[in-house]
Structures are given as structure tokens and as C-alpha cells.
């Protein structure tokens, strides 16, 4: 039986198990939206307020559910609006299928109305980009798109769908893609590399594991624990590896990188064998590569051959999915105990706790701090919520002071660092995990980058709990200006609207809190039901995220801020004295 190309698109989505899509209609995609009208009971369409919002929502959805996020938008400006989310998904390995409308094939290349070279623009920021010019190619291209997006190292795929292909009639027969000869998504592990890795770990005195998102993407959380426990290996996590281990897991030693914990960074340069699992040695984790883990033998587990030896040369590069490589190595491990080594993390933890954490999380006087709010909300949600963040200080604070008890609990823009990610990603996250509480932390800057998505929340009644950590500054940039640009606050001060009034306009309940004694009640009120809510927390204007490894610095060059009065503007100092370093 012949059906239109538009219908074939929707039928393909159903075949791939898609029940939710995010999008925005317009000229060149109208036939497909018309077809979608008849499938309302099978495919739920979420109308965002901007195509960027659709892509971030699809990302949030994919990140919490592990399913492919799907976007449907029109050509030209819609496609270019979607670029940020596509690029974000590329850098953070998030499976997306983005279908963009395109002018009819006859008009291609003529600068027709709302024609733009989408495939050309998106090729560098997608796993695959393809233009469908005739209806016969729809089933093939859709099947291939989903296969590519979800298999191996996941990523975004763009299908640019010419208008004529949507109108054409076609014999529709859907065959899921199971194989592409030029693409092997999950390479078979090489037994000799597995053996070499196990040997290195077995002879290690101070083994240390770095956990990245690869563990989550391959669903290897359990395999990770078995691996760590057998040889008693302490582990730390990257921003995207957050929640792969629960916070209270004894071998979980904390957060890596520029604003990570002190001990995980310091220990990178003290361990004798460093085991990187599904992480890519991003510069925000490694700092200066010339001084990074030079004393250690490096084992690098990754599914993407292009990541091995890219930034850090591995003594044992182990290609493959962590789901397969971890248990293969574990099998060869000798049970071991590294009690003394693991306990040696404590001295740094104590220092960080004394100088940074206590002041940030338990301030007795002064204005509200970002850390105390996040800590309290984490407690109030029993560490079970999905935490979505925007980008900047709010993001680092949320990663530092949220506790996690289950996997896929932190949704954040890591690689691209996209301000404006928060609200739409939280919408997608709530739809992807409707039974979970979804928190969204944002600054006052990032909130206003995609503030229009409050309209999506209104229309769909998405019960996200939004918290603006409002310091009336672009806080992270201001922090850098204070530290590295002689307090020249060039265009970082913000005059903000009354966020509560704006939320009210969208029918969203809200509350503004400035006083410590009101905080508990404000949080309880926010969490009293499953309705959307905005909590505006006025925090100290010049809050700083510490610890900090300045960009390009060594992982051991950690600034902890000054110990004394917060209003004291003296230079932050390196607190870790020689005695501690040698402890």
C-alpha cells in the first residue's frame, strides 16, 4: 500500500519505538506535521518555543532515559536555530535524530525561501547528516539514522527532508538497520590489551580510576563497581560521569577537573596506574597535559578509537564498550586491598572541607550561598532527583553539592557549555523520567537565554522545579574577571526582570527567597507537589566557585580561595602547602 512520505516519517518513528518528539512547525515541514496530526495518540509532540529549545529538550529526554531524542523542525532559520543543540549533543555523545524540513528537490541550490545547506552546516557537528530527496529513501534513511544515533558512541544525526519527498507516495516497508559495513559501532576488545591492563592493575600499589560518561552510556555501572571492588580501586568522576557511582559509594572519591574536589585532582599526579574509563581527557579535567599524570601508567578504556592517544598517550589502550571491557579486565584481576592508598585521599578531603565546603554549605552569617541551597535541596529530595543545570557557577555548584543515589541523575552541558541549556533540557528530562523529581539550577543569565520555554512548561504542565541562583551577575565570568582581569567587571552585571512576575505570567507558581531562615520553608513549598515551580534565590553577589584549577594550570595547582572573611577582596591563594602535598 502506498503512503505519503510524511506518513512514512511518522510510521518510521513508531517502528523505532518513538513516542515523544520535540519540535516546531513551519513551511517546509508542514506536510509531516499534517501527517502527525493523525497520530496524536501514538506520538506525542511537544511544541517548544524555539528550535534550540526543542534540541535541548530532546537531549534532556535522551540523557535521562537512554532513548534517542527526536526533533522535528522546518528548514532555514529553524535548522540554524537547532545547531546549538546538535553541536551540544555531538560533544556530549547524546543520541538525537533531528529532522529538518527542506525546500523541494527542484529548488535545492537556488537560494530558495528558507533554503540553507543544512547537511553542509551540520556535517562537522553530527555523527551523520543526510538529505532525503525522494520518498523511497525515507525508510532506509530513518532506520540508518536511529542505528547510528544510538549505537557505539552515541551522537546526533540530522536528516534534511526535502518537501517533495514528504508529498510523494511510496510503498512503505520498514526494516530496522542492524549493520553498516563502513561502521563498526562496538569494536571487539583485544584480549592482549585486556591482559596488559589487568597486569598493570595487578602490579599497582596506587591504582586510580577516572569514570566518564562511557560507563553510563554503556550501562556498565554494575560492572564498574565489580571492577573497583575486586582490586579495591578508588575512583573519581568527570562532570558527565556524575552519578555513575552513587555519592555515598565508599570507593567514590569525588569530582574531577577545574572545579572538582581537591583529592581527585591531586591524586591524579600521585597514583601509579591511572585507569580512565569512558572519558576523553578533556582539558577541563586534565589542565596542563605536560604535567598530567606523568608518573603513572595509563590505561584508557574507550569505545571510540579516535579518543585513544588523542590527548593522553595510553600504555594500555583498551578499545571497546566498557560493558564488555570492564568485566573482561575484572576477571583477570587479583583481589587486592589498597587501604592506605585510599585513606591518603582523606587529608585533602579534610582540607577542602575545612576551607571550602564548610563555608559554602554551612554559612552561619551573610547572604545565601549557592552551595547551601543546592545542598539543602539535595537533602530535601533524598538525593533522588534528576539535577539539570545551566552553565556556569550554578552548574559547578550543582555538580559539587548535589548528592546522587542513582545513575543518569545529572543532565548538564559539559562539552559545549551551552548557556540556556537548563530550562529546555529540564523539560525533556521530566518527560523522559516523569516519575522522578526534576530540579533545574540556573543562573540569572542562562535562565534568560531560553526563558521563552516557560511557555512550553505552561502548555504541557511540565512539573519541573526551577531554581535561579540569582547573583545579578554572569557569575562565572565575573569570577574570572575578579581573579584574572583585575576586577574589571566588563559587561557582567545584570539588571534583571522580576522573575516571579514573569513566571506568574506563564501560570507558574514561584517564590523569592533571600533569607537563610526562610530557605527550608521555601524548599518544602517548592517540593510540595508535582507542579512547575520557580524558586528565585538571591545569593551573594560575588560568590566564587572553589576549588579552582586555573585554565592551563596543572591539576595540582589548586586554588582554594581565602580562608577568612568573604568580603575580603584579597587575592585567592594556593592553600596546599608543601607539608600537605607530601603527606
Amino acid at each position: 500500500m502506498k503512503i505519503t512520505g510524511s506518513k512514512a516519517i511518522i510510521e518510521s518513528l513508531i517502528q523505532e519505538g518513538v513516542d515523544t518528539i520535540f519540535g516546531y512547525p513551519g513551511g517546509a515541514i508542514m506536510p509531516t506535521f499534517d501527517a502527525l496530526y493523525d497520530y496524536d495518540d501514538q506520538v506525542k509532540h511537544i511544541l517548544t518555543r524555539h528550535e534550540q529549545g526543542a534540541t535541548h529538550a530532546a537531549q534532556g529526554y535522551a540523557r535521562v532515559s537512554g532513548k534517542v531524542g527526536v526533533c522535528l523542525v522546518t528548514s532555514g532559520p529553524a535548522a540554524t536555530n537547532a545547531i546549538t543543540g546538535i553541536a551540544d549533543a555531538m560533544l556530549d555523545s547524546t543520541p538525537l535524530v533531528v529532522i529538518t524540513g527542506q525546500v523541494g528537490a527542484a529548488l535545492l541550490g537556488t537560494d530558495a525561501f528558507q533554503e540553507i545547506d543544512v547537511v553542509g552546516i551540520t556535517q562537522p557537528i553530527t555523527k551523520w547528516a543526510y538529505q532525503i530527496r525522494r520518498a523511497e529513501d525515507i525508510a532506509w534513511a530513518m532506520a540508518r539514522a536511529f542505528y547510528i544515533a544510538r549505537n557505539g558512541r552515541p551522537g546526533p544525526v540530522v536528516l534534511d527532508l526535502a518537501k517533495n519527498a514528504q508529498f510523494q507516495e511510496v510503498d512503505f516497508e520498514y526494516k530496522p538497520c542492524t549493520f553498516i559495513r563502513s561502521y563498526i559501532p562496538v569494536p571487539k576488545p583485544n584480549p592482549s590489551q585486556i591482559e596488559l591492563a589487568a597486569q598493570l592493575i595487578n602490579s599497582a600499589k596506587k591504582p586510580y580510576a577516572l569514570v566518564g560518561q562511557g560507563v553510563v552510556l554503556s550501562g556498565a555501572e554494575k560492572e564498574l563497581m565489580e571492577f573497583l571492588e575486586k582490586a579495591d580501586i578508588p575512583a573519581a568522576w568527570t562532570l558527565l560521569g556524575a552519578s555513575a557511582m552513587s555519592t555515598d559509594y565508599p570507593l567514590n572519591k569525588g569530582f574531577l577537573g577545574m572545579h572538582g574536589n581537591v583529592s581527585p585532582n591531586m591524586k591524579t599526579n600521585e597514583c601509579d596506574v591511572l585507569i580512565a574509563i569512558g572519558m576523553r581527557f578533556d582539558d577541563r579535567v586534565t589542565g596542563d597535559l605536560n604535567t598530567y599524570a606523568k608518573q603513572a601508567k595509563i590505561i584508557h578504556l574507550d569505545i571510540d578509537p579516535a579518543e585513544l592517544n588523542k590527548n593522553v598517550r595510553a600504555d594500555a589502550p583498551v578499545l571497546g564498550s566498557a560493558k564488555q571491557t570492564l568485566p573482561a579486565i575484572t576477571q583477570l584481576l587479583k583481589p587486592a586491598k589498597h587501604t592506605e592508598w585510599i585513606e591518603s585521599f582523606d587529608v585533602y578531603d579534610k582540607k577542602e572541607n575545612d576551607i571550602v565546603v564548610r563555608r559554602e554549605v554551612y554559612p552561619a552569617t551573610g547572604e545565601l550561598t549557592m552551595g547551601e541551597i543546592i545542598h539543602k535541596i539535595s537533602e530535601a529530595t533524598h538525593n533522588k532527583a534528576v539535577v539539570v543545570t545551566d552553565v556556569g557557577q550554578n552548574q559547578m555548584m550543582a555538580a559539587r553539592y548535589s548528592n546522587f543515589s542513582q545513575t543518569r541523575s545529572l543532565v548538564t552541558s559539559g562539552g559545549l557549555g551551552t548557556m540556556g541549556f537548563g530550562i529546555p533540557a529540564a523539560i525533556g528530562a521530566k518527560i523522559g523520567a516523569p516519575e522522578r523529581t526534576v530540579l533545574m539550577y540556573s543562573g540569572d543569565g542562562g535562565f534568560q537565554m531560553t526563558i521563552q520555554e516557560l511557555g512550553t512548561i505552561l502548555q504541557e504542565q511540565i512539573g519541573v522545579k526551577m531554581i535561579i541562583l540569582n547573583n545579578h551577575f554572569l557569575g562565572m565570568v565575573r569570577q574570572w574577571q575578579e581573579m584574572f582581569f583585575e576586577e574589571r567587571y566588563s559587561f557582567t552585571k545584570m539588571k534583571n526582570p522580576d522573575f516571579i512576575t514573569i513566571a506568574k505570567g506563564y501560570g507558574i507558581e514561584g517564590y523569592e527567597v533571600s533569607k537563610r531562615e526562610d530557605l527550608d520553608n521555601a524548599i518544602a513549598d517548592m517540593l510540595k507537589d508535582d507542579k512547575p515551580y520557580l524558586l528565585v534565590a538571591n545569593v551573594e553577589m560575588k560568590g566564587m566557585v572553589f576549588p579552582m584549577i586555573p585554565a592551563g594550570g596543572s591539576v595540582t595547582d589548586i586554588l582554594l580561595g581565602d580562608e577568612g572573611d568573604k568580603n575580603d577582596n584579597s587575592e585567592p591563594e594556593v592553600i596546599l602547602e608543601e607539608s600537605i602535598l607530601n603527606a
Partner: protein
């Protein structure tokens, strides 16, 4: 790290836009492509790119991995000149009267092993195949003596000296993989 000339060989599906996908990988690293040639390979439906680039072994290995990572690329690898038999072809157009004034064509043909592709009262077109230095030497000699009206050189084509044909090995492996699935 020492820079040298690397020859990158890429086998790909014959799909639209692949050249763009490859070249942007060079652009990101601000690498100049020295030469490029593209043609159907010995295997039906598979295209072969031969790219030369002047860089370090570290950069070329990363670039090749990033090329190989693209979905429609079957295989990408790189070699240095000692692993390869390679050749470029060059065409030279010169004025007939100038060359007759100069004297002997025979000497040129013997010295450089050139072929004459076209000869009329106005122009003569020579063809020379060889390594870059060889085609360049002829160009320089002609330029200095009689002048060259037009000159064009192809990108490099290359074949490995090794007995192993990497692509056919890979295709066999793929076949095995496919039948296992």
C-alpha cells in the same frame, strides 16, 4: 616533532558530501592539503582518496583516526614515501615556434622521458609522469629556456609496497562479521 610528507589513503562509500566531511577535518587543524586525488577504486562502489599533507606523525595519526570515524568511511590509513610507489602526472603547454627556435625536441624527450600529446603550428603539449621533483625539474627547465604557456600537475596516486591489501582484508573481516550477525 619533525614534519614530513604523509600520504593518506581513504576508502569510502560513494556518497554525496564525503569530500567535505574529510576536508573539514584538515580545516579544523589548519592543515593544508598538498595534493588530493579521488577516483573509483578497484572495488565496485568504493571510492579512493589519496591525500598528501605535510605534518608531524602525531597529527597525521589523529587526523586519520578522525577521518576513519566518519560513518561512510570504510578505511583510512597513512604512509610515508618509503612505504609507497607513487606518481604524479604533469602537462606542459609550450609555444611551437619557441621550441623550434630552441632546437632539439629529441633531447628533451630523451632526457625527461616525456610524451607529446598534441602538436600543431601554435602549441605543443608534453606529458611527464614522475615524482614531484621530477615534474618540477622539467617545469623549471622549460620556464627558464622557452617559457611555459600552461602547466598542470595532478594529485599524487600511490600504491603500497607491502603485500597486504588492507582494504580487501577489511572487507573480508566485514563479511565474516556480517554473516555472524
Amino acid at each position: 616533532m619533525e614534519k614530513e610528507l604523509y600520504t593518506i589513503t581513504v576508502f569510502s562509500e560513494n556518497t554525496v558530501g564525503l569530500l567535505g566531511q574529510i576536508t573539514i577535518i584538515f580545516t579544523r587543524r589548519a592543515l593544508n592539503i598538498e595534493t588530493l586525488s579521488v577516483s573509483p577504486s578497484a572495488i565496485k562502489g568504493i571510492h579512493k582518496f589519496t591525500i598528501t599533507v605535510f605534518t608531524t606523525s602525531e597529527v597525521v595519526s589523529k587526523v586519520v583516526k578522525q577521518i576513519d570515524k566518519r560513518i561512510d568511511i570504510l578505511k583510512a590509513y597513512y604512509n610515508t614515501d618509503e612505504d609507497l610507489i607513487h606518481q604524479e602526472i604533469a602537462l606542459y603547454k609550450v609555444a611551437t615556434d619557441k621550441i623550434l627556435q630552441q632546437g632539439s625536441i629529441e633531447e628533451l624527450i630523451r632526457k625527461y622521458h616525456i610524451r607529446v600529446l598534441e602538436m600543431n603550428k601554435d602549441i605543443i603539449v608534453f606529458q611527464k609522469a614522475g615524482h614531484y621533483a621530477e615534474t618540477q625539474q622539467l617545469f623549471e627547465e622549460l620556464s627558464e629556456t622557452i617559457g611555459v604557456l600552461q602547466f598542470i600537475r595532478s594529485g599524487r596516486v600511490a600504491i603500497t609496497k607491502s603485500k597486504v591489501e588492507r582494504l580487501s582484508d577489511m572487507l573480508q573481516a566485514i563479511k565474516k562479521y556480517e554473516t555472524q550477525e
